[in-house]
């Protein structure tokens, strides 16, 4: 299955990546190769096989509804480039 440059541009846009023309060409080739490799799976008959949602055979990992204190606010905010009034300061987004 081949993918087009246009699809690569779309995927890059969704990931907020800026690609040069040359990179677009490289990734188009590489992604096509990856998808072709994955296509091999289509040679198998999976009609009777349930889709796998998780690689480990475990279910129902849950915790009880009991509050635990988190780290102090200064720690939560310590990696933020800009902080105001105990909050993350970000560019306007409308």
């Amino acid at each position: 299955m081949a993918i087009s440059v246009k699809q690569v541009e779309q995927v890059a846009y969704l990931a907020r990546l800026e690609l040069t023309e040359q990179e677009k060409q490289i990734f188009t080739q590489q992604l096509t190769a990856i998808l072709e490799y994955a296509d091999k799976l289509n040679e198998l008959d999976t009609e009777q096989v349930e889709p796998l949602h998780h690689i480990l055979p475990i279910y129902n990992v849950m915790r009880e509804d009991v509050v635990q204190p988190g780290p102090p606010r200064e720690e939560t905010l310590s990696n933020a480039p800009l902080v105001e009034d105990g909050q993350f300061k970000v560019p306007r987004i409308i």
Binding site: Q10, L14, R16, H53, H54, I55, L56, I58, Y59, N60, V61, M62, R63, E64, D65, V66, V67, Q68, G70, P71, R73, T76, L77, E84, D85, G86, Q87, F88, K89, V90, P91, R92, I93, I94
Partner: protein, 482 residues
């Protein structure tokens, strides 16, 4: 609304589940805390932090699903919904894509005597995003502040079928959904605090057509009233556009509460591509049938059952029964009052009348008022005995509502005892009759109004404390002797 068109409405409702902790971490969900004080590495998206599902959130979802007549999935999983926004630190929201925990349910509504069953496509668990506060007005803002306290609070998104045909039906659906969630005890459902949020999908089509028209999603609906109005406005806008030969575009619009209009936010052409995929950090859920049955066995009386009970036991109208079952607190107050004063219709009238008016005027809930069912019952008994008039009762009720004093106490304090003493009234009536010979003459000449005037004079002389029924009786008898 134009008779040639039909409105088609479906609602997407987000209900915040009232767990003590978030859905995937142990941070508190308490409302109104200082910004970013209920945050940890999981809900603020630190690399390597692992989410662990809150069992109570799953149980609440099962509870809601059962209350909405849904099938509860035997197996379901969580998926990542990918998009960038500053209130979403992971750059994905954990949600459920193709395997919701609940599906294929319904609820019943009644608008002006018309019963309709509204289908529920699905209800799925997901995490809430943080809160973004724009500095200044939305058009002039230069930056925003992010508070992640709400990030990770469990939500149940409930998606209806496009089964509603008017703003009033959509409102009835949302009100019913709210009372069901309140009775099931899964959410506070406070629209003003955002624990109940609603988006509406609205389209119109020629009557009789089964094809759906171009759909518009309306956001920012912050009250039942704005939901109803926004739908009515939007449908009218769409019909007018079609009549003018315009083509409608699929888009998202926001409700402008101030101007009472919907306005375009973005068109669906730039529609999101969320690239859902199963979240590898969360193993799937297998929901034991035994768990489901245990939850089912613990379900309390639901609004529909309670309504039926009120209609069958007390002969109340659909409307009254519906009103009394809007919240568990309302029903409990009613049931408790009726235990002490069995005239259900009188109790219901007082609750829907003065009680509800005072609650609305003061923006209060039943729990905030001081009046108790016992005192309301006591007051009703005093009206029945003729100790107080209906008019005095209004004053007494208001006093009970704010102070929690007993009716007896208030009557004593205000000297409000109704005058039902024959002799006393006889004397006052004699004076009134003697003092108004002309009016008495008018009455004898057949002027009905004259009688009312004389009654008014007696009431005035007794500062409203005379027993009106007795005054009528004595006065009539007295005038016959004139």
């Amino acid at each position: 609304m134009d008779r040639e068109y039909e409105i088609v409405v479906g609602l997407e409702v987000h209900v915040e589940l009232k767990t003590a902790t978030k859905i995937f971490c142990s941070c508190s969900t308490a409302f109104g805390a200082e910004p970013n004080t209920q945050v940890c590495p999981v809900c603020s998206g630190f690399p390597g932090a692992l989410p662990v599902l809150n069992r109570q959130a799953v149980e609440y979802a099962i509870r809601t699903g059962l209350a909405l007549n849904c099938e509860i999935a035997e197996v379901c999983k969580f998926d990542r919904k990918n998009y960038f926004y500053p209130d979403l630190p992971n750059a994905y929201q954990i949600s459920q894509y193709d395997q919701p925990i609940c599906k294929n349910g319904y609820l019943d509504i009644n608008v002006d005597g018309k019963h309709s069953r509204i289908g529920i496509i699905r209800a799925h668990l997901e995490e809430d995003a943080g809160k973004l506060v724009h500095q200044g007005s939305i058009t002039t803002t230069t930056y925003s502040l992010v508070n992640l306290n709400r990030c990770g609070v469990p939500l149940l998104e409930i998606v209806s079928q496009p089964d509603m045909r008017s703003g009033a039906e959509a409102r009835a659906y949302l009100e019913k959904l709210r009372s069901i969630c309140l009775f099931a005890g899964v959410s506070d459902c406070k629209m003003e605090e955002g624990s109940l949020r609603c988006d509406a999908n609205v389209s119109v089509r020629p009557k009789g057509s089964s094809k759906l028209g171009t759909r518009v999603e309306i956001k920012n609906l912050n009250s039942f009233r704005s939901l109803e109005r926004a739908i009515e406005y939007e449908a009218r806008r769409q019909i007018e556009a079609l009549e003018d030969g315009e083509e409608l575009v699929q888009e998202t619009r926001t409700w402008d509460e101030e101007k009472q209009v919907t306005r375009s936010m973005r068109s669906k052409e730039e529609a999101h591509d969320y690239r859902y995929f199963p979240d590898p950090d969360l193993p799937p859920l297998r929901i034991d049938r035994e768990w489901v049955e245990r939850v089912r066995a613990s379900m309390p009386e639901m609004p529909d059952q309670a309504q039926q009970r009120l209609i069958n036991t007390y002969g109340l109208s659909d409307y009254d029964a519906n009103w009394l079952t809007s919240t568990p607190q309302t029903l409990e107050f009613f049931d408790e009052t009726v235990k002490h004063y069995p005239d259900a219709k009188a109790v219901s009238n007082w609750m829907m009348g003065d009680f509800s008016r005072l609650l609305n005027q003061n923006n209060m809930e039943i729990a905030d008022s001081k009046v108790t069912p016992q005192y309301l019952a006591e007051m009703l008994r005093l009206i029945e005995k003729g100790t107080i008039s209906g008019k005095m009762a209004k004053t007494i009720f208001e006093e009970m509502f704010f102070t929690g004093k007993s009716p007896e106490e208030i009557i004593k304090e205000k000297g409000m005892q109704q005058i039902s003493d024959q002799e006393t009234l006889q004397k006052i009536i004699d004076e009134v009759v003697a003092g108004n010979p002309k009016v008495v003459e008018d009455y004898k000449n057949g002027k009905e109004k004259a009688f009312g005037f004389l009654v008014g004079q007696v009431m005035k002389a007794t500062r409203g404390q005379a027993n009106p029924a007795l005054v009528n009786e004595i006065l009539k008898e007295r005038l016959m002797r004139e």
